[in-house]
């Protein structure tokens, strides 16, 4: 028997779903949020350097479940294997209330104006699906500001001459005190003619919104914050949604499919509840916010007479253009102490290399890295360094406290073949088809990624490194925490999945609100853009909502 009907059902509670739930509920709609994972209270956190989202040697701390959701990974040479979440090939993003925003590092980047116009800026790139967004930076600007103020960002981006226009500064100053890496890397960048500035972070530098300021502990990226100073969906927009009194959050619920009526419109969803019982949740509007891999899966699995290939998939675009970022950079070793135990680590960045390299499309931001924990560092040595025995131990003693790493997310050039689709054989715990991930990087991405590694190395050398090595681009499609692109936004229904308001072209009451809709993913961590676009799309949804129904 179906549950009582609601105005909107939101699938997922991360950066996209959290904002959608909040905006819709505050506009007076009744909302049910279905989240596959569970709550993680910051006060019960006991950080574990072998069990977290950054290092899953013994497991992931915030999901997805270790066994219930396998996937099939096809490597660039065509070999396939079944993978589980702690395997890097799985391309996992966290699965819990708040999604990836519970345990992210929280870099809060606005994309640059060119990032919304990649094709117009650089022309077509053979073998890629490079395209412009149907909206511009200026369309997003007010919502970037809203995200910065309503979720909470610290930092100082004013010295960055490459940024798009903005009306207000960030709401919080940079974290204080500044780590030693900042003291060393800033003058080195200036000597190179670069334009360094304090990295924007979704972390409180001052008490704000009833929560404390950051206590600068070393375990940051990959972990929940035990003092709740890291701002995510779970401690901002989700509580606001629930405070309205007409939003409900159901955890450990796995959505099976979106239901569609004879006219081809969605009527709600069916899901497996925490006891694996099937439930039907009727709704006027369905918002899909499961992240780029799982949102695509949900659309693909929701087949019906009018949508035989899945929702929004009339032209085979759902699941295509999967991309995260190609991380490249360099590590530098010094003859003096660098380590000062002041987290989170990342504090200084440059945008000199995001655009404007002759002959290459895009690029990426470079910043110093989060504090690397000893186990991580033990696998992080220059090629040729002994990886075991006394020489290894000597290396660790000499350099753990005397190194810095600079890296950045190179903008991936999207491809038609970098994709997720339904695997024809493997099923998950609930008997539904799992994702099959395949594809490779565009050669252009590798080229510019390697250029970024050389630039990072030059910065470290200028800072006085006595030994450096580059971390160059590997092969394979990217996804992971920055996964995007699988339900592309566009004006032409033949070459995109959703329109500029994030509504599926031929299913007017289903919205996709997460990084799936990103046409390209910038040379930046994508989360602020996910938050901002969610505020924008949810506003449009509310405007289209009139007296208990959706127009159009």
């Amino acid at each position: 028997m179906a549950l009582p009907r609601v105005h909107a059902v939101v699938v997922g509670s991360g950066a996209g779903g959290g904002v959608a739930a909040c905006v819709l509920a505050e506009a007076g709609l009744s909302v049910v949020v279905l989240e596959k994972g569970r709550w993680h209270s910051p006060f019960e956190e006991r950080k574990d350097d072998l069990v977290n989202q950054r290092n899953a040697s013994l497991g992931l701390a915030y999901g997805p479940d270790a066994d219930k959701n396998p996937r099939v990974f096809v490597d660039p040479s065509g070999r396939e294997r079944v993978v589980y979440p702690k395997d890097g090939a799985y391309q996992a993003n966290a699965s819990c209330v708040g999604g990836g925003t519970v345990s992210y590092g929280g870099q809060a980047w606005r994309y640059m104006p060119q990032d919304f116009r990649m094709r117009s800026t650089y022309g077509t790139t053979p073998g890629s699906t490079l395209e412009d967004w149907p909206i511009s930076y200026l369309d997003m600007e007010p919502y970037y500001e809203k995200a910065e103020y309503e979720i909470g960002v610290s930092g100082d981006v004013e010295p960055n001459p490459f940024k798009g226009p903005r009306r207000r500064p960030l709401p919080m100053p940079p974290l204080h005190p500044k780590p030693r890496e900042h003291e060393i890397l800033r003058p080195a960048a200036l000597r190179l003619g670069l334009h360094p500035f304090d990295t924007p972070l979704l972390i409180n530098s001052v008490p704000r919104d009833g929560r404390s300021a950051c206590m600068r502990i070393r375990w940051c990226v990959g972990f929940a914050c035990e003092t709740n100073a890291k701002n995510g969906s779970q401690n901002t927009v989700i509580p606001r949604a629930l405070a309205t009194g007409h939003a409900r959050l159901q955890t450990e619920c796995k959505v099976k499919e979106i239901l569609v009526d004879a006219r081809g419109r969605a009527t709600g969803v069916v899901y497996f509840d925490e006891n694996d019982r099937l439930q039907e949740q009727p709704a006027d509007v369905v918002v899909v916010s499961g992240g780029a891999t799982e949102s695509a899966r949900l659309l693909l699995v929701s087949k019906s007479r009018l949508h035989p290939n899945g929702l929004g998939n009339r032209h085979d675009w759902v699941g295509r253009n999967l991309n995260g970022h190609t991380y490249t950079g360099a590590v530098g070793f010094f003859d003096r102490e660098i380590y000062d135990d002041i987290g989170p680590g990342v504090c200084i960045s440059v945008c000199d290399y995001n655009h404007g390299t002759p002959g290459l499309a895009g690029g990426g931001m470079l910043a110093n890295e989060f504090i690397r924990l000893p186990y991580q560092f033990s696998n992080d040595q220059p090629p040729g360094t002994p990886s075991w025995g006394k020489a290894h131990k000597d290396f660790m003693r000499r350099y753990y406290r005397r190194n810095m790493m600079i890296q950045g997310p190179t903008q991936d050039i999207p491809t038609w073949d970098g994709r997720v689709e339904l695997d024809p054989r493997v099923k998950d715990h609930w008997g539904t088809p799992v994702l099959r991930i395949s594809g490779d990087k565009h050669a252009h991405t590798v080229e510019i990624g390697n250029r970024q590694a050389e630039r990072a190395e030059a910065w470290l050398k200028e800072a006085g490194a006595i030994l450096t090595y580059q971390r160059r681009a590997g092969r394979g499609v990217t996804g992971h925490q920055h996964q995007s692109g699988t339900c592309r936004m566009g004006n032409d229904p033949k070459t995109s999945v959703v329109d500029a308001s994030c509504r599926i072209h031929d299913v007017p009451n289903v919205f996709v609100i997460d990084a799936s809709v990103h046409v390209t993913n910038g040379g930046f961590n994508p989360v602020l853009t996910i938050f901002a676009n969610a505020f924008r799309a949810s506003d449009l949804l509310v405007k289209a909502w009139k007296g208990g129904g959706l127009k159009g």
Binding site: R46, K47, D48, D49, L50, S57, L58, G59, P177, P179, R180, M215, R216, I217, R218, W219, E337, Y339, D340, D341, I342, G343, L373, P374, Y375, S378, N379, S387, W388, G389, K390, H392, K393, M396, R397, Y400, R401
Partner: protein, 192 residues
């Protein structure tokens, strides 16, 4: 020390010897004090781990509890890996007996290191290793030793935070401590 499975290096070696003697007398496998490993396998493992992270002025892998760590993983989260571990340890030990006439654990450190270096390169006789790929076993050994040595002590390794002390990583973390007193803190965090 709250880990009932923890033993120090000396007691570990001594009990290994006692257990070996007991085996000789009783002609039966001694009851293992480990959760997943047999006494013999644990003894080979300890020697191999100490090859990966040898004791010197700072503790080596065994003293830091890496054998406890691996044993605990094989009894809990990584039960599936137990077969690979056993086969690999027996391969290593068989190679030692054939080439040096002694169990791996009884060889001098230089000979142990040479055998490990061969395994790392994938060198090994089929008669010793059977279907085990020595290089794959070496990767498993190195990876788990690093986890047990540098990882969180709650998993049974990094006993007394030996690795963190070695690296001068303050514990517990306190905001801005090093920034306010950069000269003294690393030294203070080391065992005197």
């Amino acid at each position: 020390m709250d880990d009932p499975y923890a033993v120090d290096r000396r007691a570990f070696l001594k009990s290994g010897a006692t257990a070996a003697a007991a085996t000789a007398v009783a002609c039966g496998a001694p009851k293992s004090r480990w959760r997943a490993l047999s006494e013999d396998d644990a003894r080979t493992l300890g020697a191999a781990c100490d090859g990966i992270i040898p004791p010197d002025e700072d503790p080596g892998a065994v003293q830091a509890g890496v054998v406890s760590f691996i044993d605990r993983q094989l009894a809990t989260r990584q039960k599936k890996a137990l077969g690979d571990w056993r086969a690999g340890l027996r391969g290593l030990d068989a190679a030692a007996r054939r080439r040096q006439g002694k169990p791996f654990a009884d060889l001098p450190v230089e000979a142990q290191t040479a055998l490990l270096a061969d395994a790392e390169k994938g060198h090994g006789e089929k008669a010793d290793w059977g279907d085990v790929d020595p290089a794959a076993f070496f990767r498993l050994l190195r990876e788990h030793t690093m986890m047990g040595f540098y990882g969180d002590p709650r998993h049974g390794g990094n006993r007394d935070r030996a690795a963190w002390r070695m690296l001068g990583v303050p514990d517990p973390p306190i905001r801005g401590r090093l920034h306010e007193s950069p000269a003294t803190a690393p030294a203070a965090s080391r065992k005197s």
